[in-house]
Amino acid sequence: MVRVEFLGPIQKDALALEITNLNELATILQKDEALKEWLATCAVAVNDTIVTSLEYELKDGDKVSLLPPVCGG
């Protein structure tokens, strides 16, 4: 099971999904109308490290985080 968290302003509870890579996650999340606008601008971290390839393999226990556009300071 992979846990998917939505950070900051994305108002959505975490998901627990049976997936093996980020491609599968993209397919699932693109079906959620409320998420569509976020997906285009969110960065993705696996176990708190930013990843930039959809081919990234996921294993049981991994945590995926979606990070929308940031503005600290």
Binding site: L7, G8, A26, A43, I50, V70, G72, G73
Partner: protein, 148 residues
Amino acid sequence: MLYLQDGSLDVPKILKEWHEEEATSNYGAFISFVGTVRSEDGIDGLSFDIYEPILQSWFALWQQKAKERGAVIKMAHSRGDVMLHASSYIAAVFSPKRRVALEFIDAFVEDFKASAPIWKYDLKDGKRVYAKERSTAINGSGILGEKQ
């Protein structure tokens, strides 16, 4: 040193502490940047969410870069609400010579704005509104979106 706290930062106190921490470290240059909430667009203040695990690793990378140049970086940031004219962010660089400090503070503050996992909200009319227009997508964003 990365210091996070609820609410606004006590700027003179933090600058004093940092200055004292390095008082005998033989750094010739100490430069600090303070971010303060401005009155604009009728806001009452700002509010912040922080994702600490990634902020910590982002900061550790900068600390390593600084160390390679003989410098030290310190940073403080607020969680939650910070009202008008109060401060939410302090960054500082200590280095032996001035050029490294001047270059690091600029590069650090700009990368902080572009990459640090912190989300800002306007406090306005009792609501907390995501500052979408002023926010920056992190490098590498968008991979989960539909192919263009």
